[in-house]
Structure formats: structure tokens, C-alpha cells
């Protein structure tokens, strides 16, 4: 399932993003150290990793903001280092650093952004999508942090992008705003938009991503569907219960059989019974821990 390019494989011409042997150095520090990655058209790919792991550097090389020191990169068939205006028109970019301050109103800003594209979405339609309709006439400077971030997303999607980059898009959102954002991302996916998402929120990656890549020390440590990351689906389950006044735990590959056994030992309910698989957070922390 999680086909992953190996070093030396040719670029995938059908992929939305195809990266081979990517290297980026800042002085003595190697931020990206031989990264290989294919992102298929139409998928949501989440890039996870600790701060300084190379997430933003990788994304900004794909967006055309940074020059690479080695490797091959194709984004929608073009080399981002020499991306044309027509190429940029097919991208939507939500930067980690936002889109700047402005005296313009929310609607004016979205309208101005729309004027750079051939076939933009209607500004009011976009504001409705990101939930900023009520703020349309408010100057961008006066928005709260979460509203400001939704405006960044509005600016990212108004050009009707084929490929949308979202670099930590939900930082500063309250839980409700995050859920609304997730449903926006899903509706964009239903329209066929490819998305590369970086995030610190593992629940976000699990809820949205078709595939997850974990980046640590400038390399992709693993690429998998969220449920299978780090061998999660086949990892032993942990069964816990209380017996003779003590908390007991058992790691088992066959939790169903084990629970049936337990059920036979107790007259009624098994006290405090719980069965758990490692969470995405457990495997993620283990993976980036391995690298340190």
C-alpha cells in the first residue's frame, strides 16, 4: 500500500510531487539529508516531525521558495526552482508565517488575491467555506489569530489550486475551529485537490491524511497509512484489568481470545477491563525518539 520510492528510483512523472535525493544545507547544518518522496494526485499527505526535522524546508523547496543543494524535485511536472507563472497559478500555498498584515478588509484581500488567477473561486463562496462570512467587511488587522489563519487558508484556495500546501494550518485554532477546518479539507479533497499538510497534531494527521510521512533528522523515517504507521496495526494489544485488588496488564497478539479467557474466569464483568493498541502518538514518539 504505502509504496515508497527508494534512493536512485527515477522520478514518478504521474505524481503531484516527486522528490529524489533531496539535500539542503544551511552552513554546517544539513536540514534535509537525502529525502525521497512521492505524493500521488488527489491524496492528502501529512508530513509529521519534530521542530527542526526539515518539514518546512522540504515544503518550501517544493513551493519554489528555497534552492536545493542536491537532488531532483518535480511538482506538477515542473522543477520548482524555475517554476513559471502558469505553474504557480496551479498551486495554493498556506505558509507557516502567514500572509502578512493588511489594512484591507477580508473580502478585499480575497478579491485581490483572486485577481492574480485565471479562474478563481468567488470570494464570498470562499469566505463561506472557511467560515469568515461574518468578518467579510472587517480589516484583516483586527482578526483574531484563528480567524487570521482561516483567512490565510482562504487566500490559499481562492485560485482554485490543483495542489494545496498547508504548513501547520491549524496552529491557534480552538477544537471547534479545527473540526470545521477538517471538514473544509475533506470537501477540497472531494473536489480532487491534492494536499501536502504539515502538522504537529497527530489527531489531525490521523483524521485527514491518506498517508503519513514521518520526517526526522532530514530523512523520511517511514511512510504509511495512519493506521499502519510503525507497525501499529499488527502491534500487540495491551489488555488491562483488576484482579485480587491489583492492576494487571498483558500484552497479547490475540486480544479477543485473551478477553474470552478472562471473561470465563470472572463471574460477571471483568473489573476495569480495557484493550488498547498503541496510538499514533505512541508510535510517532518512538520513531522520532529512535532517531535522536
Amino acid at each position: 500500500m504505502a509504496a515508497r520510492p527508494r534512493p536512485g528510483d527515477p522520478l514518478d512523472p504521474d505524481a503531484a510531487i516527486s522528490v529524489r535525493g533531496l539535500v539542503k544545507r544551511y552552513g554546517d547544518f544539513t536540514a534535509v539529508d537525502g529525502l525521497d518522496l512521492d505524493i500521488r494526485r488527489g491524496e492528502i499527505f501529512a508530513l509529521l516531525g519534530p521542530n527542526g526535522a526539515g518539514k518546512t524546508t522540504t515544503v518550501e523547496i517544493c513551493e519554489g521558495y528555497r534552492a536545493r543543494d542536491a537532488g531532483e524535485v518535480r511538482v506538477l511536472g515542473e522543477d520548482p526552482a524555475v517554476g513559471s507563472r502558469a505553474w504557480k497559478a496551479r498551486l495554493g500555498i498556506v505558509l507557516q508565517s502567514g500572509s502578512g498584515d493588511s489594512q484591507l478588509t477580508v473580502r478585499e484581500l480575497v478579491g485581490a488575491q483572486a485577481s492574480y488567477y485565471a479562474d478563481p473561486r468567488d470570494a464570498d463562496e470562499v469566505l463561506e467555506l472557511v467560515g469568515l462570512t461574518e468578518k467579510a467587511g472587517v480589516r484583516a488587522k483586527l482578526l483574531s489569530g484563528g480567524q487570521r489563519r482561516r483567512l490565510d487558508v482562504a487566500l490559499g484556495i481562492v485560485g482554485r489550486p490543483t495542489l494545496l500546501f498547508l504548513d501547520e494550518p491549524t496552529t491557534g485554532f480552538d477544537p471547534e475551529a479545527r473540526r470545521q477546518f477538517w471538514s473544509l479539507i475533506r470537501s477540497l479533497r472531494d473536489l480532487g485537490t491534492t494536499m501536502l499538510l504539515t502538522t504537529h497534531y497527530l489527531d489531525e494527521a490521523e483524521a485527514l491524511a491518506d498517508r503519513v510521512g514521518v520526517i526526522a533528522g532530514g530523512r523520511l523515517v517511514e511512510v504509511a497509512v495512519p493506521s499502519a504507521l510503525g507497525g501499529r496495526e499488527t502491534a500487540p494489544a495491551v489488555v488491562t484489568w483488576t484482579e485480587d485488588g491489583a492492576r494487571r496488564t498483558e500484552a497479547t497478539a490475540t486480544p479477543t481470545a485473551f478477553v474470552a479467557e478472562l471473561a470465563a474466569r470472572f463471574p460477571g464483568e471483568v473489573p476495569d477491563l480495557a484493550v488498547a493498541r498503541p496510538t499514533l502518538e505512541d508510535v510517532y514518539l518512538r520513531m522520532i525518539g529512535d532517531d535522536r
Binding site: Y65, R90, G98, D101, S102, Q103, L104, A112, Y116, D119
Partner: protein, 269 residues
């Protein structure tokens, strides 16, 4: 909501230029600080100086008539050099420029928008200063071909100062540090370039330093418009030196353009 499509026909340059110009005009005129600082301050200075320093230079020419040329030059400096240096440094540090670089907006559209902003602010500044000068202090307006001189001196000066402002913005870390560097520098230049004091009363070495920069030449060119030709005798060489005004401002335009092309960055380092 409609599906994702891939189209090829990008918007025409003029339409993006219009859109950017409208953005830049709104950005300037909605920001109270920039309007007060850039447009209102020269007017207040004209009102105060005109009221306090109401003496005659000679031949019945008032200091205010002399100051009129200087304050217009200072107004142009504020609308172009200071405005560009501070606003572009701000836009670079707050991420506006980086965001724009990630869109299909043609880079030329950004600079066209800035030019339109400078042009509009300069025009308003000049008109308001002239109006206040005529209404409150009975300034004699230029006549005939003097308007032609006025236009090219102001235009060439604004162009040179705009390019220099854009170039300087790349050195500053952010808008606040740009303001902290550029504002005292502009003020200093104004003191030694014949704006607040008669240029002939400034020590020669300061005159020489001032002559390296565009403001002195802008003010001198504008004096040729506002003052009778007899007063050219007070200038360093005894004439208005309009040819040299054009030459120095032209050199600064070329130098400013080269600096802009070589130093302009769309993102923070």
C-alpha cells in the same frame, strides 16, 4: 462549490496592475500613522514655519516663498524615500512579500502598485502644500514654463527617492528598524539641504555632504521655480544649475535601480 479545473489563460498585466494599485492606495490611505506622518507633517511644518519665520530674504521675497520650495522637496522625500523604505521593510518582515511571491502575481505588478501609491501621495502632498501656501501665506505660484521645470524636478526626484527607498528597505530588519534608521537620516538631510534654513547659511563642508544626495538638488531645482531669478545669486555657484540638477537626480535614478535589482528580496533572510 465547483470542481478543480486547470486553465491556462492568466489575467492580463493591466488588470493585475489595476488590482495592485488599488491595494496599495488602500494600504496607504487607511493607515493613520502614514497619512499623518507623510502628508500632514509637511503641512504643519509649513504652517508653523510660515507663521514664525515671517521675514523677508531680500527684494521683497519672503522666507516662506523660499521655504515653499524646500517643504515641497521634503514632502516628496517623505512620500517616496521614507514611505518606500518603511513600508517595504514592514511587508518583508511580516510575510506579505513572501506570500505574494508564492502567487502568480507578476513581480512587476508589485512595483507598479508602489509607483502608483508614490505618485498619488506625492500629488496630494504637493497640491495641499501649494493650497496652504497660497491661502495662508500669499505664496506666488509658478507661471508658464516654470510649471514644466516643477514637473520634471519633482518627477525625477520622486523617481530617484522611490528607488533608493526600495533599495534601503532590503537593509532593514523590519519596519520599525527601517523607520529608526531612515527618519533621522531624512531629518538630518533636511537640515543641511536648504529646507529649514537657507542653503547659503550652511557651512561649506555640510553643503558638500548634502550635495551627494538628491534632496539638495530637488530643493534647488524647485527654488528656481518659486524664486525670482535674481536670487540665484545666493546659490553656491550663483546659478540654479538646472542641468546639474537633472544630472545628479538622473545618476541617483540609475544607481537606485541597480541597487534595487541587486538587493531586492521577497523574503527575510
Amino acid at each position: 462549490m465547483t470542481a478543480t479545473r486547470e486553465t491556462t489563460q492568466l489575467p492580463s498585466l493591466p488588470s493585475v496592475y489595476r488590482s495592485r494599485s488599488s491595494v496599495e492606495l488602500k494600504e496607504f490611505f487607511r493607515q493613520r500613522e502614514s497619512v499623518v506622518f507623510t502628508l500632514l507633517l509637511p503641512v504643519l511644518l509649513l504652517v508653523v514655519f510660515g507663521a514664525v519665520l515671517n521675514f523677508d530674504l531680500r527684494d521683497g521675497v519672503s522666507f516662506t516663498q523660499y521655504f515653499m520650495a524646500g517643504i515641497i522637496a521634503a514632502g516628496i522625500l517623505g512620500a517616496s524615500f521614507q514611505n518606500m523604505a518603511i513600508s517595504i521593510a514592514t511587508e518583508r518582515s511580516d510575510g506579505t512579500l513572501k506570500h505574494l511571491a508564492g502567487t502568480p502575481m507578476p513581480p512587476s505588478a508589485y512595483f507598479v502598485g508602489k509607483m502608483v501609491q508614490v505618485l498619488a501621495v506625492t500629488l496630494i502632498s504637493v497640491v495641499v502644500l501649494l493650497l496652504v501656501g497660497v491661502v495662508f501665506y500669499g505664496i506666488d505660484l509658478p507661471t508658464g514654463t516654470d510649471w514644466l521645470t516643477f514637473t520634471w524636478v519633482a518627477g525625477l526626484g520622486a523617481a530617484a527617492c522611490t528607488l533608493l527607498g526600495i533599495a534601503i528597505s532590503s537593509i532593514a530588519k523590519n519596519g520599525r528598524s527601517a523607520s529608526a534608521t531612515v527618519t533621522p537620516f531624512a531629518l538630518l538631510l533636511q537640515f543641511i539641504s536648504g529646507i529649514f534654513f537657507q542653503f547659503s547659511e550652511i557651512p561649506t563642508w555640510m553643503q558638500t555632504f548634502a550635495a551627494l544626495f538628491p534632496l539638495k538638488w530637488m530643493a534647488q531645482g524647485l527654488r528656481s521655480v518659486f524664486l525670482p531669478d535674481a536670487l540665484a545669486a545666493d546659490e553656491p555657484t550663483g546659478s540654479w544649475e538646472l542641468g546639474r540638477v537633472a544630472l545628479v537626480l538622473g545618476i541617483w535614478c540609475v544607481l537606485g535601480l541597480v541597487l534595487c535589482v541587486r538587493t531586492f528580496r521577497w523574503q527575510d533572510r
